[in-house]
Every structure is written in C-alpha cells, then in structure tokens.
Amino acid sequence: MELSGILFYLISFLIMGGIYSVICLALNMQWGFGGLFNAGIAGFYAVGAYSAAIITSANTPNHVGGFDLPIVVGLVVAGTLSGIVGWAIARICVRLKADYLAMASIGIAEIIRLAVINEEWLTNGSLGVSRIPRPLEEFFTGRESEMVFFVFVWIIVAITFWVAHRLYKSPWGRVMRAIRDNEAAAESVGKDVQSFRTQSFVIGAIFMGVAGALSAHYFKFFSPDATEPLLITFLAWVMLIAGGSGNNKGAVAGALIIWAIWSMTEIITQQLPPDWATRSSYIRMLLIGLFLQFVLQRFRAGLFPEKAPKLNVKSHG
C-alpha cells in the first residue's frame, strides 16, 4: 500500500478510536468513579446521534427537520438531550444496585432503539437520516475533510478528557469513589448518595450523546443499525475494563487498543474463505474476548490501573 493510503487508514482509525475514547471516558465517569453499571450506552449514543443529525441536516420531507443548524448547535443539543434522558432514567433507576441498574438500563436502551426504528416521522425509521454535514465541508472535500474531521474529533476528546480529569481530581470525584466503594459508609459520612449518583449518570450520558453526534457527522448518514449494542455498549465496556476503569488514560488507551484489534481482525477475516465470511463478526468477538481474558489474567485492574489522585495540599503546612 502506498504511504498516503496507510496515513489515511490511520486517520480513519483514529477518528473512530477518538469517538470510542469519548464513550469510554463517559463510561469511566459513571462506572470508574461512580460504580454505576450502565449497560444502555447505545441508547444515549442513539439519542445524541439522532439529535445532531436532525438539527444539522438539510430540510427533508422524510422526517422532522432537518433544521440545517451549525454543527456546534447540534453537539450542544445532542449532549443536552442525552443528559436529560440520563437524568430521567437516573431519577427512576439510580437507587438500584449495580446489577439491577444494568438490567434496567439495557431495557431502556432497547426502548430507545425501538422508538427510533418505529417513529418514522421523527427518525425516518430504518431508512435512517442522511445528508448529515461534516464540519467545514464547504471548504474541504474527500480526504481533506477526513483530516479536518480527525482534528475536530480529537479536540472533543481533549475536552472530554479535561472534564474527566478535573472531576477525578476533585473532592466531587473523591465522594463518587467513596460511594462506589461503600454506599452505606458514604451515607454515614454525610454524602447524599442519590444526588451524587444522579450527577455522575447525567454527566456520563451527556458525553455519550456527544459521541453519538460525532459518529453521525462522521458517517454522514445514521440509521438504527449503527446503534447495535454489540458495537457500542459491549465494545465500550471491553475497552474500559481492559484499559483500566477508574483511570482516564486507561479509558483512552483501552479504546484505541481494542479498536485497533477490532479493525485489524476485519482485515484478517476478509481473507477467510467465503463460507466463513458470514461468521466473521463472531470470530472478531471471539478474538476480542480472548484479548480481554489475556489482559485480565495478567493485569487484573486493566492495563492502567486506578491511582489515587495527587492531593492539592501542602503537608506540614
């Protein structure tokens, strides 16, 4: 392959890797700090993607809108709506213990998915929303627009990381970790457990929505197929656990490594004989599973284990 081909393969890899990094950082805010088992990531992702798609695409008779508004507006709306959905779910479910929260959130994500497929006036059903713009499209086309989008995604990753890092270092993050480690004890030291858990669920949901919006702009087309839980929820969990939950660097590293394996196995499975090709996606899952086994056997807390943040204090002061 020519050099520029490799470069552009790398760029498209890093775009998807960046989008997954945002999801993973968001999941880390919920699970890594707060111990909230959100198994409905795909639902928030879908809410974000569809909001951004409808807000920014050109007017069409196929569904509500599009409103042809700037991409930044789309991102803000995507994050806000996803956050509101997260808040509503948190109000109902946040009291549940981890495994029950997982079940409830799977259910809610499926409800969102079915709504997306069936409410054609809103989402154009299984035909999806098309003609979703990318940033600065009027100036750059083709591979250049990929480059621009790559920069755009990683600016968002940087912002997400910055927020996650600030939260992790703050007394707020410390309270969340305490609640994760022992709810009753956190209550006994005066922390309003439900309120804190709701906050962490909402902030995670916001960034999951933003990640959905990014992918809608990247694909330029968004249909219910793209919200497949296997591709979003399952992969994001594997990424965070392998990378190291509770560690923001681990979240990004896990996203990139697992996405690399996922993409490379695609190349491998393409070489398989045709009657194997239909099974390829299962083979890829199997390989991801094996890798996760390997990581967890060797590094029980993930590749980058959680570390207590450095305290912002003077000793003997």
Binding site: S170, P171, L311
Partner: protein, 257 residues
C-alpha cells in the same frame, strides 16, 4: 442526648426491635449490650438513619429526627462505625478521612470542572484535620496505603478516624473491638476514654466483651429479643438475674415474658 422512643423495626414478619425505648445521655460513654440477635445493630441503624423504623420516634436533643435520611443526620452530629469494616477500599487512608470532611465547594460538580481553585482552602483544612486525626490514632505512617490493604484492626481505627473527621456530637461504635488483638484493643479503649474525657464526645458502643465494657462505660443499656431489658452500671446489670439469663440461660427468661 438521644432518645429512642418506643421503636419497632419489622423486617417482614420479624420484629428485630420491638417497642424498645432508651436514652443515650450526653457526655457519657454508654454501652449497648445484649446477646446475639437482640437488635443492637438494628437500633444503631435506626439512630444513624440507615433504617426507617416501622413505628416510634428518634429524638436528638429533643428534636424529632425519625424522618431524616442518614446523610442529613451526619450534619446534625451523629457519626458511626460499622460492625463489619466499611472502609473505602480503593482509596488511600488519608482520602478515606478527607472524604468525611465537608467540602461544599469542591463537592459541587460545576466547581469541580470549572473552578478547581475554589476548593483549595477547604481541601487544605480537610487534609490538616485528617493528618491530625491520623496522628491522634497513631496510624499516620499508613496515610498513603490503600484502605483495602489494611489489617482488620487498622480498619477499625480508620473508621474511628473517619467518624472523628465529621465534628460529631455523638459517636456510635458498633463492635469496634471485634476481631482486634489485645494490644490494639487496649489502645482503642485508651483512645475512646481520651475522646470522651478530654474532648467531650458522647459515645455509645456495642460490645460483647463485658470486661471491656466495664472498663469503658459509665452506664450500660441491655437489650434482649428486640427490647430493653434493663439499664444501669455494669455492676448492677451483671448481678441482674434477667441479664444473666438472657446471656447464658435458656428457658426461664422466655417463660417470664
């Protein structure tokens, strides 16, 4: 003073605490004793707000706090430790203590993201207090260890420290001596007496070892089968036949009620 007024706490058909009333006097060390299953820990959970009683009232200095959730009772000066260690196991020892300090500014999510400088003063104060508490408990050398890696006895001290961080009026200690070796047990007793005599904390403790209780407590409350049996000094209650019966005997007491 905490008044426990005619409390009943049912779990399904079982009344763990049944029409039980007693008072925990201010400024004293009070023991709460009784055989296993007497309802002592349930009583603590009701006082600390982890359980809402089926009926009855809990009063703190005359104020009805029965409906307050646990996290709000902490602000009113009730701190506790747990029977089984409830440390924050993936946090360091000093973090375990600091999290118990109130940091209104830094615990606000928006401040945490946009104005991390805001919480600096409170953070420093929490750290200083945490270090002072660790020095008082003589475990300052453990400050950067993960709490989950501590020994059982060290975890008990850590929980005591966490309770002290909250500027409490009253500390509820649930079997702080259970599973702790003799040397450390003596040290914990010394600290408890010091906290009461020198710093004026009101302390109520659940303990099984009567020698230990008699060393520490001014008065004891004896519970059996979910209700109050008697109160008095250790000497008085240990001569009480019903107490001896509840602890060691079988039928006679049960027949009596």
């Amino acid at each position: 003073m905490i008044a426990f007024e005619n409390i009943t706490m049912r779990f399904g058909g079982v009344a763990a605490v049944d029409r039980c009333s007693f008072e925990i006097p201010t400024g004293k060390i009070t023991g709460l004793i009784g055989p296993n299953g007497a309802g002592k820990t349930t009583a603590f959970n009701v006082i600390a707000g982890h359980l809402r009683p089926t009926s009855g009232r809990v009063l703190l200095e005359g104020e009805d706090i029965t409906a307050l959730p646990a996290h709000k009772r902490q602000a009113m000066g009730i701190a506790r430790t747990f029977q089984l260690a409830h440390e924050f196991h993936r946090m360091t020892v000093v973090e375990n203590l600091m999290v118990a300090a109130k940091n209104e500014l830094g615990e606000n999510m928006l401040n945490a993201i946009f104005r991390p400088g805001q919480c600096k003063l409170q953070e420093q104060a929490a750290y200083d207090r945490a270090m002072e508490t660790l020095r008082f408990l003589e475990i300052e050398q453990l400050k950067d260890q993960l709490a989950g890696d501590l020994s059982g006895g060290q975890k008990k001290l850590l929980e005591l420290g966490r309770a002290l961080m909250q500027h409490p009026k009253i500390i509820l200690l649930d079997e702080i001596g259970a599973g702790v070796n003799r040397t450390l047990l003596g040290k914990i007793a010394e600290k408890i007496i010091q906290l009461n005599k020198e710093r004026g904390y009101t302390i109520c403790l659940i303990e099984h070892d009567l020698d230990y209780v008699s060393r520490l407590c001014d008065t004891v409350i004896v519970m059996a089968q979910g209700t109050l049996l008697t109160t008095g000094t250790v000497e008085e209650v240990s001569r009480d036949e019903r107490v001896i019966e509840a602890y060691f005997g079988g039928g006679k007491y049960q027949e009596a009620i």
